[in-house]
């Protein structure tokens, strides 16, 4: 039987922890990572809350033992810490990496460094080395060099669904026989550019984000990175390794409605879920838990809620958004939530949707609000983004 693509390792950094164990402990305890901005120099400090990782760039450099000066952006460093954990978890040595493929994703890329020195780049030579990470792909290349990955390396950027699409491409590379092992995931550090961008769109909340709540006013941006090692069955057998879980379904569709907003009925989301179930070859009622996109913007949750109601014909399985824990980590969101989904499968636990109080007026929809122990065999994870990009992933035991 086709069991999809095996996941042999995972790694994560987010506002609730620097590895998978710390993240899981925080999820179990209902401990969120939303706080005031400390590490980004912005005038928005007073107006917004974020899911910030309280480690300075210098501390991240020390964790990774990087020589200075280097050209690693904050996003890249967060990414590298997560990839290191994923390799350890999959029991893969750095020297084995030459045949490995790497599908990265990011929206921020090196923007945090570029915005810092933008004005002084032409006059002050000492920071000019950061100009080379102005394009997103160069960040991926530096990371590939760090891990000695020389084969197929690419970078995807499809806004908030980026990491889902990276995971999806990795699976297709393995299914086609083009790769045996692929590191897939996404990374995004907080920076002024994104904080201000979302501010102009009035999408940020000045309080804690409340997905699927009638009084939700917006999202909290977050930062982080998470990666999975996808591996073919033959490669796993060769090295006698048991996988963590399987990725059995994946799909991407476009809402083709508006540049930044989702359609009222969430057609793109509906299509993505439908196709993902077709790929997985299972029925929607087999789902035990949905990790929703649930950004807590008025528009997303309404559109996603309608798409869920339509798709599951009003019999929606237990679902929650974990964005109240981590904030919306943009390109990293789907891979962070993929790690949460795999942890749900392994630990038979589903997570609470924090901060929920009142059902939305538009429909009868209550997310899971308490931590719950139950047998979890199948998880659906949704991610949607600007440009109408909608992706769904299905994970199974």
């Amino acid at each position: 039987m086709d069991r999809g693509v095996a996941i042999s390792g995972m790694g994560i950094v987010s506002a609730i922890g620097m590895n998978a164990k710390e993240n899981f402990e925080a999820l179990k305890k209902g401990q969120h990572g939303i706080s005031e901005v400390e590490l980004v120099d912005t005038i928005l400090k007073e107006n917004i809350l974020v899911g910030e990782i309280k480690k300075s760039n210098q501390e991240l450099e020390q964790i990774l033992k990087l020589p200075t000066p280097n050209s690693f952006s904050r996003s890249s460093m967060l990414g590298m810490i997560a990839i290191k954990e994923a390799f350890r978890d999959a029991e893969i040595q750095v020297k084995d990496n030459t045949s490995m493929a790497f599908v990265n994703s990011t929206t921020v890329g090196g923007m945090d460094m570029v915005e810092k020195f933008y004005d002084s780049f032409l006059t002050d030579k000492k920071n000019q080395h950061y100009i080379s990470v102005n394009d997103a792909g160069s960040n991926t290349h530096l990371m590939a060099d760090y891990f000695n990955i020389k084969g197929f390396v690419t970078t995807i950027s499809t806004a908030c669904s980026s990491a889902a699409n990276a995971i999806m491409l990795g699976a297709r590379l393995i299914k086609s026989g083009r790769a045996e092992k692929v590191v897939v995931g996404g990374m995004d550090g907080l920076c002024k550019f994104t904080l201000n961008g979302f501010n102009t769109l009035m999408l940020q909340s000045n309080g804690f984000n409340k997905p699927f709540d009638d009084e939700r006013v917006g999202l909290n941006l977050g930062e982080g990175a998470a990666y999975l090692i996808l591996e073919s069955q033959s490669s796993l057998q060769k090295r006698d390794k048991t996988p963590l879980a399987y990725l059995t379904g994946y799909a991407n569709a476009n809402d083709a409605y508006h540049q930044t907003a989702s359609s009222e009925q969430g057609e793109g989301a509906f299509l993505a879920m439908k196709k993902a179930f077709e790929v997985a070859g299972i029925q929607p009622e087999q789902v035990d838990y949905i990790n929703a996109h649930g950004t807590a913007t008025p528009n997303n949750d309404l559109s996603e809620g309608r798409a869920l109601l339509n798709f599951f014909e009003n019999k929606i399985p237990d679902f929650s958004s974990t964005k109240p824990f981590t904030g919306h980590t943009l390109a990293a969101a789907a891979s962070i939530e993929a790690v949460f989904s795999i942890l749900a499968l392994r630990e038979n636990i589903i997570y609470p949707n924090l901060n929920f109080k009142t059902k939305m007026k538009e429909f009868d929809l209550t997310p899971q609000i308490e931590i719950k122990k139950k047998e979890v065999n199948t998880v659906l994870s949704n991610s949607f983004g600007f440009g109408g990009n909608c992706s769904s992933l299905i994970f199974e035991k």
Binding site: E115, Y118, F152, F193, N254, A256, G388, N389
Partner: protein
């Protein structure tokens, strides 16, 4: 497993590729430091209400993709896949300038929204109301090739009948200055040289948008067949011959069966040696160059793909692509190989065949 045919092309570049007269005549750009694309008449393709927020790259993409779709008569697309090295850099610059200039005050959302890397693929989907698969690759010199590989995966997996693939990059003033400052681009006064004759440090930057409708079936509008694409992150020069030979043998081809090789020489003395190495193993193939006419940009191999497709269909080799070389094979042109790298990274091979 399905084949992959190029059934429609639209190419906006510094040459008359959009007007389709480039094979007859080329514009001399050797006196330019920054090579800009020739603007098509946007208004005949894009309604005024939507044009107002679009940067050059988005506009060029909409126009080039419309032409490609029309030529292929592809009413329904099963995927839109775009590669872009720097993304919507004009709007990123615009937003950064305002954010820094006004100290984060009075910012408006338009530039931020437009600066998102997947703006182009999103806008094309929005224009076509296309709800299908939609991906954007931003992988430096391997952005367009990543899109092509994704396309091949769709055909191999029998997931699609028609897809749109494109490569796009645009100039942005300050960004050009930044790359000049670190020597990636030549300084103003150094530009004015024929890059094929005289190598120096850095490249002459260009821009463009090339779009292709790929189909699993051959039609009256078919240009060529894409056999295979490979992309690797890093390669030592010494390993380049075996990289090429392994790729050819995987596709059951011998060196002398490659009739034309399109090389990405861009005049940068530090990295053009890779092309010397590649040239040295092709003794009987005709070698062609194009960056002396288009400038260098991160998705420039999309232009090489356009050139290869047209050569295969028309069986003509324009003299202005020969550089100092001569046509080595005068019989039928069957197979073309495109080799490209950017600053020693993102080594790619694109293999195409006539139909």
């Amino acid at each position: 497993m399905n084949s992959c045919f190029i059934n429609g092309i639209g190419c906006v570049s510094a040459q008359n590729t959009f007007e389709n007269t480039f094979f007859e005549d080329a514009i001399d750009i050797s006196n330019l430091n920054i090579v800009k694309a020739i603007k098509p008449n946007y208004k005949s393709f894009i309604p005024p209400a939507s044009i107002r927020r679009m940067s050059a790259g988005v506009k060029n993409s909409i126009v080039a993709s419309s032409v490609a779709i029309k030529e292929a008569s592809a009413d329904q697309l099963d995927g839109i896949i775009v590669g872009t090295g720097l993304g919507c850099i004009q709007d990123s610059e615009n937003f950064l300038n305002k954010m820094i200039g006004y100290n984060e005050e009075y910012l408006t959302p338009t530039a931020f929204i437009q600066s998102t890397h997947n703006t182009v693929s999103g806008q094309i989907a929005l224009k076509l109301k296309c709800k299908a698969y939609n991906f954007t690759y931003v992988n430096t010199g391997g952005s367009f090739q990543s899109a092509l590989i994704d396309g091949l995966l769709m055909f191999e997996g029998e997931e699609a009948n028609n897809i749109l693939i494109g490569g796009v990059d645009e100039h942005a003033e300050y960004t050009n200055k930044l790359y000049q400052a670190i020597g990636y681009y030549r300084q103003d006064e150094e530009g004015k040289k024929n890059i094929l004759k005289q190598r120096k440090s850095g490249v002459i930057p260009g821009e463009g948008a090339s779009y292709f409708v790929l189909g699993n079936e051959q039609s009256d509008s078919t240009y060529a067949k894409i056999l295979d694409v490979q992309l690797v992150n890093k390669l030592d020069q010494i390993d380049l011959p075996s990289f090429i030979l392994d790729f050819l043998s995987k596709n059951e081809l011998k060196l002398d069966e490659i009739d034309v090789v399109i090389l990405g020489n861009n005049g940068d003395d530090e990295f053009d040696t890779y092309y010397d190495e590649a040239s040295s193993i092709f003794e009987s193939s005709t070698l062609l160059y194009y960056k002396h006419l288009f400038g260098e940009f991160l998705t420039s191999s999309s232009v090489a793909t356009y050139i290869a497709a047209k050569i295969l269909r028309e069986q003509v080799i324009p003299e202005h692509l020969l550089g100092e070389q001569k046509v080595r094979k005068s019989d039928k042109i069957g197979n073309i190989l495109i080799y490209n790298q950017y600053r020693g990274k993102d080594h790619s091979l694109i293999l195409m065949e006539d139909v």
